[in-house]
């Protein structure tokens, strides 16, 4: 399938992962079977690596703590930051992780049930890994936007008229 078609399918799935192949087929003027096959192929190729619900955790009182941790690492010969990074990334507590330019090396997003959980993880697991020079932990107080979508859109509730010219 041509690249543009695949990109269009990916774009649609990114706006709404629950679009059915049938709906996508209609929207892109394609056959549902072709869409289904393209999606399967892209999953196999690792182009699509998961489907997520975008949850507004602010609305749920359950304990869920997010921390952004700046990690300084001493790079190793041949592998640079990758060996240490991979060790850190494997922990299930780590949800997102990126290598950064600037004053620190790794930006690690850690989720935990309580602040103690996160603190404990950082102190006993993350900071003790060989090659980790220092950590700075920032707790997230509130999320306003995730994946390009505003979590609270109070100002956009104004209703249109039911019929207009």
């Amino acid at each position: 399938m041509e690249e543009n078609r695949r990109k269009e399918i990916l774009g649609l799935l990114q706006t709404n992962a629950r679009y059915t192949p049938q709906q996508i087929a209609v929207m892109l003027n394609m056959e549902p079977a072709d869409v289904e096959q393209a999606i399967r192929e892209m999953e196999e190729e690792g182009l699509i690596i998961g489907y997520h619900a975008l949850v507004n955790w602010n609305k749920i009182s359950s304990e869920n703590v997010i921390a952004l941790i700046e990690v300084k690492v001493s790079p190793q010969r041949d592998v640079g930051f990758d060996a240490v990074a991979e060790r850190i990334a494997r922990f299930p507590e780590v949800r997102t992780m990126r290598l950064m330019s600037g004053t620190y090396d790794l930006a690690v997003e850690v989720h935990g049930r309580t602040m103690q959980d996160v603190a404990f993880f950082v102190a006993t697991r993350l900071a003790t890994i060989e090659g980790v020079v220092s950590t700075t932990t920032h707790f997230v107080l509130k999320s306003y936007k995730e994946h390009g979508i505003l979590l609270e859109r109070k100002e956009e509730g104004a209703a249109r008229l039911v019929v207009s010219p």
Partner: protein, 399 residues
Amino acid sequence: MKAAEEFLNPVVRAIPPSGIRRFFDLAAEMKGVISLGVGEPDFVTPWRIREACIYALEKGYTMYTSNLGLKELREEIARYLSQAFRLRYNAEKEILVTVGVSEALDLALRALVAPGDEVLIPEPTYVSYIPCTLFAGGVPVPLPTRMENGFRISAAQVEKAITPKTKVLLLAYPNNPTGAVLNRQELEDIAAVVREHDLVVVSDEIYAQLTYEGEHVSIARLPGMRERTVVLQGFSKAFAMTGWRLGYAAGNEAFIGAMTKIHQYTMLCAPITAQMAAIEALRNGLGEMRQMVRQYNYRRRLVVNAFKELGLPCVEPGGAFYAFPSIRHTGLSAEEFCERLLREERVAVVPGTAFGPSGEGFIRCSYAASVANLTEAFRRMGNFLQRLRKPASASVLRA
């Protein structure tokens, strides 16, 4: 004293209220209505544009502007028309910023039409073309179009309707309510007739950016047409700015000058905050605009396909955000169909007759609605059509 009614201008008295109005009143009383009756985007104006307006207010931009509109905005419009549609106009003298395309249309007709002049108007027509022609003292001459021709007018049809009194051809493509577009060849043929009979074209291109296949061609771009065309454009549809009321007209100095005269005595100028926002829209808002157009295009395909599955014949709309399917085979009139669909299934669509007699047998469905709402609306419409096909069992159910 005479009755209040009798004081009214007979022209105004004779014009019935918009056919859409009745449906609005009906639907307004109901709850849980899914509306495909709306002629405006379901998006909120992109944030950067709203933010520019807030900033303008904070900075104290609360005064009149020049009658023509802010110079900065006119320069942006000139640049945009040139880049997007290859239309070249002088920002100083050939562009007028108006309170929506609605005002621009009224100005154009009043500036061009003398009492008794005939104005050719393709039909089904947007609700205000005929009344505005009448307000200007003109004589509207509808050019009925048919589904079989994709609701497009032809050069031959224009030629046939021309009389010594004909002055203006009002074009509106992409079209509301049918979604029809004219291709370059069709426009060239029409332009030849217009030149031959020395007519003027008022070209309402408010849906120009919402052209889904190929590029939008303005008739003003064709040889010998720039001098006899007023192009009307605006921000409402493409930038989701309906409530801002901001449009513009582009044309030769004489046309724009005459329109400006009327504008300066009746409206003075468009609101400055909306003009400030529009500058931002043209400078930095094109990306957001394209995103919205893509969404409409997806929904367009969804809608055309859904009508096909429901067995309602529908010309594939090439522009705007309306589909105009035929409901003739149901045996109901457009009004009956819409009223029953609204009462029984809570789906609001607009009867084709709101856009003139040749709209009988059709309904206008706007697809400026979310995919979820469209899907649900079509499910309900399916139920409705199924009941129509089995009137006997339906009456048993009701009994």
